[in-house]
Symmetry: C2
């Protein structure tokens, strides 16, 4: 199971119709990982199927308030759940994240009831954030250590973490402030059993199928030894998911990122406003569609809409424009599947056949 739950799909600020940025990734092994955490995320979570207590990693693309300001409140509310004693949340994002969280939780005297650790992505050649990140600073009682620093591993690329069969990398994106996009790559999946071959060899369906699928050699009652390689196809490529932060140029991820299952790309405003969009560090559906084609994506999900765009199914009054316009513009530039995000939409990412 690998599901995307869109918890906030609006840009700039949260509104009653569209929350500020947050996407939850639910995965059978990984639990729940959040991507961005705008103000009101904890309210959106209460309206969703996602359980806050299951969150164990939070990835922040950049430190603008509409992607960040829900984090301290969410951290406090997670602590209201019945949590295992060893509960820990790892949080990844640009430099300054640790200070923001420590200050917020300290002045509010928040007691979390679990541990957290911040890992900061550091630009290689830019001045550091003006907020002091002194390692002598007094930690919050639930903070495991001062922020760990993640340095660039290749041009524009940071290796973020590997956990539960998923690898996460970050890539630099052009925006008004330092911003990254996250690429989540699933480990190879076991090959598929060939049931026709199995039946022709007289092997009955049952627990033996599971053993072979897991790569175990099987001894049949008649003495035959069955090697999984003779019956199971080659390992299959895991799914690849790209979740971008705000950007006026995602091509900074090229050529490293290619052949992905799903890309979530911001499309803050329509194509006609491209000059303004780029000036402010944002993208249009045309730009998102073009990039999805360049990286050979199977599915493009457009996201992060100016609050002026009404939801897909709204009744429109004169002068109203809806996300339908953005969706159609994206489809003009990308021949794969295109989906428009919306608050509480769930997209299931299937294993490719």
């Amino acid at each position: 199971m690998m599901e995307l739950h869109f918890l906030g799909t609006g840009s700039c600020y949260p509104s009653p119709k569209r929350g500020a940025s947050c996407i939850a990734l639910r995965h059978e092994n990984a639990g729940v990982w959040l991507f961005d955490c705008g103000e009101g995320t904890q309210i959106q979570l209460q309206k969703s199927e996602v359980k806050p207590g299951r969150i164990n990693k939070i990835f922040i693309t950049h430190l603008h308030g509409d992607h960040l300001f829900g984090l301290p409140g969410l951290m406090c509310t997670i602590g209201q759940n019945n949590l295992p004693e060893e509960k820990r949340i790892d949080i990844y994002g640009p430099r300054g994240l640790g200070t923001f969280l420590r200050t917020s939780l300290s002045v509010s005297a928040s007691q979390l009831g679990y541990s957290y650790c911040v890992h900061e992505i550091v630009e290689s050649d830019s001045p550091s954030c003006e907020i002091s990140l002194d390692s002598d600073a007094k930690l919050h009682p639930n903070e495991i250590q001062p922020p760990r620093v993640i340095k660039m591993s290749k041009p524009n690329k940071w290796q973020i973490c590997e956990s539960a069969g998923l690898k996460v990398d970050a890539y630099f994106l052009e925006h008004a402030i330092f911003c990254v996009g996250y690429v989540i790559t699933e480990d190879s999946l076991p090959g598929k059993l060939d049931p026709t071959l199995l039946r022709s060899m007289g092997i009955p369906p049952g627990p033996l199928y599971g053993k072979l699928k897991r790569g175990e050699t099987v001894l049949l009652e008649d003495g035959r030894v069955i090697e999984p390689s003779s019956i199971v196809g080659p390992p299959r490529k895991g799914r690849v998911l790209v979740i971008l932060g705000d950007t006026s140029n995602s091509e900074t991820m090229l050529p490293a990122v290619k052949d992905v299952d799903v890309i979530i790309h911001e499309t803050t405003v329509e194509n006609e406003l491209e000059t303004l969009a780029v000036e402010r560090g944002h993208s249009t559906p045309g730009m998102a569609g073009k990039f999805a084609s360049m990286i050979n994506a199977k599915m493009l999900i457009i996201n992060h809409f100016s609050q002026r765009y009404k939801a897909l199914d709204s009744e429109l009054k004169e002068g109203d424009v809806s996300v339908t316009k953005l969706l159609e513009q994206a489809k003009e530039c990308f021949t794969g599947e295109v989906v428009a995000a919306d608050d509480f939409k769930i997209v299931s990412i299937k294993i490719p056949q």
Copy 2:
């Protein structure tokens, strides 16, 4: 016009049914003043009649997240409005508030488009907040100066500000962390005209009435000189409004606070849970009613309900308890008018006759 707009009436965290703490005071001369600013306040404002651009003062009772974490986002969103060039917001609250706001706005590179100034209420004999408040710290570009410090003027009392015919004082309240209640005292109002007397003297209704009411001497066409004191009653006492933060003991305000028009008192849980409530720094309706009687209040508004209590008009399922229970318990201990707050409720405070 003096109106209270309840924007968030829930305790601990914001929910889809009940926002985190925030009350807006609308006043004909003062504009809009906010009291506390929990996460999601800017979303609640969008659902209300209160215009964010009119906010010019924000008072924070204490730094717990459910009273504070909406502040940075609200500050950013206020900047999206069309504001006068000299726009400025003054923010009052406990020590640590300035650092929280500066850190939040700085790491997020927020540009407000107006100025703000933080005034910190300092306890006299307790250690300062562990967050550094170094006056050399780099200010946010929209910050007017490092936090001004407001020191205790009398035992348990701080003189906060005087503006637009309203005086604000803060009083110490017992709670889990440093917390105050605010007392808003309106200047004396002009006396009322005696229309019967005016008619008997042959003075026709019209602009002369206004002049007399404003305290101006009037020369009639027939040569008579009318002094306002002969026609206008004595100045009337202005309205007094008390807005408390969270507390397990509001009697720390005695004997200074007395004879008030409206008191807003937290009643987090029902009377049966008083021991637990006090342990956690909170009050019950019984405690609120008793205090409202002690200070000779005309009206008690109960507020800040545990999210377990359903709204007054909800359909209850088995096991549900609604705010009705809290309201009835408060009425048992207070003979004046009792009102239960609810999100988006508006209470108009009339000039006493």
